[in-house]
C-alpha cells in the first residue's frame, strides 16, 4: 500500500535514522492510528490464512502453533502486520518489501517483540534468482501495485514449493471498488493517502484465474471481505468479491 509512496524517499540507512524508524514503527503498530483499518482487517485475514494453510498441510487450526515448521514468504510485508502473527503461529517467516524503510521498521518492531523474522528489502524477482522456495507465499494487496503483473505472477509461482500454497488478496475492478476503495478510503475517510491505489490496475477475479492458468496454478477458492461501517469491523463474505477479495491458489 504505502510502500510505493515511501520508497520514493528511500535512501541508505544510517544510525541517526533509527529514531525516525522507531516513530514510524509506532505509527504502523498503533491499533488506533493511521493503519487502524489494517489492524481491524488483520484478525479476519489471519484467520483465513491460518485456516487455509492449516487445512492444506493437515494441521489443527486452533492449535497454539498450527503453522510450526512451515516456511512462509510474506511479499510486501510493510511494517510486519502479517509477518508477526504468522511467526507467533509457528511459521518461519521471511518478509519482503521494496521499501528499505518498511523493512527497517519491521525489523525494529520484531526485535522488540522478541520475534525472529527474516526481513529483506528486495523484490520477489531477487529471491527467484537465489532459487529460494517456500511452503506458502503470502501476497496481500501487492499485485495491484506492481508494474508487470505477468512477470510478477511468474516470479511468485517459482517461489512456491511443489504442493505448496499461495494466498493472494487484492481489489476487484468494479464500480463498487472505485466508489469504496478510491473515493471512500482515500478521499472521504482518508484511511489511505490519495493516490495509494490506481483503480485501473485492480485485478478482476477472471483475470486472476487467467494468470493462474498461465502458470499452471489451481485457483482453489475465492472469498470476499465486507466492511461494516457501523461496527467498523470486517467479515469474510463467500459470495461478494466486488471490492476486496482473497484467493487460495495451489501449486
Amino acid at each position: 500500500m504505502t510502500k510505493e509512496i515511501l520508497s520514493q524517499f528511500d535512501r541508505t540507512i544510517d544510525a541517526g535514522e533509527i529514531d525516525k524508524f522507531a516513530a514510524m514503527a509506532e505509527e504502523w503498530w498503533d491499533e488506533d492510528g493511521k493503519f487502524k483499518p489494517l489492524h481491524r482487517l488483520n484478525p479476519v485475514r489471519i484467520t483465513f490464512l491460518r485456516d487455509h494453510i492449516a487445512a492444506h498441510f493437515s494441521r489443527d487450526p486452533v492449535d497454539i502453533a498450527p503453522l510450526s515448521g512451515l516456511n512462509v514468504l510474506d511479499i510486501g510485508c510493510g511494517g510486519g502486520l502479517i509477518a508477526e502473527p504468522l511467526t507467533r503461529l509457528g511459521a518461519n517467516v521471511t518478509g519482503l518489501d521494496a521499501s528499505e524503510r518498511n523493512i527497517e521498521v519491521a525489523r525494529l518492531h520484531a526485535n522488540k517483540m522478541g520475534l525472529e523474522i527474516e526481513y529483506k528489502a528486495a523484490a520477489a524477482s531477487d529471491l527467484v534468482r537465489c532459487g529460494c522456495k517456500f511452503d506458502v507465499v503470502v501476497n496481500l494487496e501487492v499485485i495491484e501495485h506492481v508494474a508487470d503483473v505477468d512477470e510478477f505472477m511468474k516470479d511468485c509461482t517459482s517461489l512456491i514449493k511443489p504442493n505448496g500454497l499461495m494466498i493472494l488478496a487484492t481489489l476487484n475492478r468494479t464500480a463498487q471498488s472505485y466508489a469504496l476503495a478510491i473515493i471512500g478510503a482515500e478521499y472521504l475517510l482518508r484511511w489511505l493517502p490519495r493516490g495509494t491505489h490506481n483503480w485501473r490496475k485492480f485485478i478482476r477475479p477472471s483475470e486472476l484465474a487467467g494468470l493462474c492458468r498461465k502458470n499452471a496454478l489451481d485457483l482453489a477458492k475465492l472469498c470476499g471481505f465486507r466492511y461494516n461501517p457501523f461496527t467498523s469491523s470486517w467479515s469474510l463474505e463467500e459470495r461478494d468479491v466486488a471490492v476486496n477479495y482473497i484467493a487460495v491458489i495451489k501449486r
Partner: protein, 412 residues
Amino acid sequence: MSNIADISADILIVGGGIVGATLGITLSRAGLKVTLADRLAREADTAKNYDGRASAIANGSVNILKGIGVWPDLEANASPIWDIRVADGHPLRGISPLFLHYDHSDVGKSPFGYIIENRSIREALRAVASDCKTLKLVQSANVVSVQRGPFGVIAETESGIRLSASLLIAADGRGSQIRNEAGIKTRTKMYDQKSIVCNIRHERDHAGTAVELFLPGGPFAMLPMTEHRCNVVWTERIDLVDHYMALPEDRFLKELSQRFGGWLGKIDLVSQRHVYPLGMLHAERYTSQRLALVGDAAHAIHPIAGQGLNLGLRDVAALAELIVDTARVGGDVGSNNVLARYERWRRFDNFVLIAVTDSLNRLFSNDIGPLRLSRDMGLALVDKLPLVKKFLMRHAMGQVGKLPRLVRGDAL
C-alpha cells in the same frame, strides 16, 4: 542478558490462589506458556488451617472448572445446593414467618451450585496444574519489582529470578501489590462487621439446603457440605466478634445452636474458628499497560450473596477467552486492544454485584423495626414475583449478561 534464573513466557500471573491458578491452567490448556508466581512456599496454602472458608460455586463456575478438567478432582468434595432459604431472623425471637424460598426446580433440574471448601479447590487446582506442560509454577516467589513497557513486562523476585512475559496478570488478592505499584486507585469501604467461619458436624441430613438468616449483626449462613457437615459464616458486629471467638467451645456451640434452630439436631464443632474482616473494594481501572487485574485484586465484595469467587472466575473466563482468541490469530496477547475489551466486558457485571451486595447488607444488617417489616414484606414479595425471582436466581447462578464460552459450558 539472559541468565539461568530467567523465565520467559507469554503470560505471567502473580498470585497462585484459586483465581490465579484457574487462569493459569485455562491458558496453559490452550497451549500458552504461563508462569504462575506465588509468594507462598510449596503446600503452604493447602495446609489444614490456612483457609477455613468454603465457597459457593455457581453453575457458571462449575462449567469453567469442568471445561479445564478440574471438576473430576473436585466432585467428591462438592456438596450440591438444592434449596436456598433466606429469612429474617433474631437470635432470641426466632425466624420471621415471611421468608424467601428458592427451590432449584424453579430454574431447572440441576442444583443451584455447590459448596466446596477452599482447601479442596486449591488441592484440585494444584494437582491439575502439575500436569500442565506449559505452566511453570514458581513458589516462594516474592515479586519485588515490575517493569512494564510497550513491548512486554519483566518482574523480578526477591531471590533474583527474572520473569518476563507479554502480559502481567495480577491475581494477588485484595491487597494487590502489583495493582498498588501500578498506581491504580481503588474505591474501598471496610464494613463494621467481621465473619466468623467454622465447620460443624450435625446429626440430621441437611438435604442440600443452604440457609441464610438475616440477623441484626449481619447475615448468618449455613452452607451444606459433604459428610453431614455445614460451613457456618457468621457475620457479626466487629465489637462482638472477639467475645464470641474467645468463648469456650461449649458456649460457642450454644450460641450457634440458638441461631441454627434445631433442624439439624445435635451439632459439633469440627474445625478451628477463623475470623475474616469484611470490606468492599473496586479498582478504578482493571488494566494498565501490559497489566490486567483479576479476582479480588480488581474487586472484593461482601460475602452476603456468596458471589465473590464466582465473579473472580468470570473474570478468568472472560480474560482467558480474549487472550486465547488473540493468540489463535497470532496477535499480541498483551496489547491495549485485548486489555480494553477485558475492562469493558467485566466492569459492569462486577459493578452490579458490588452495588447489590452492599445494599443488601445495609438493608439487612440492622434491627430497625419499620425496615425489618418492609424487608420481610420485600422478601415475601420477591417470592411472589416469579420473573424477578428467576432473574435474581439466574444472576446468582452466573447466567446473566454476555457470558464467556467457558461459563456457558462451551469449549474455549
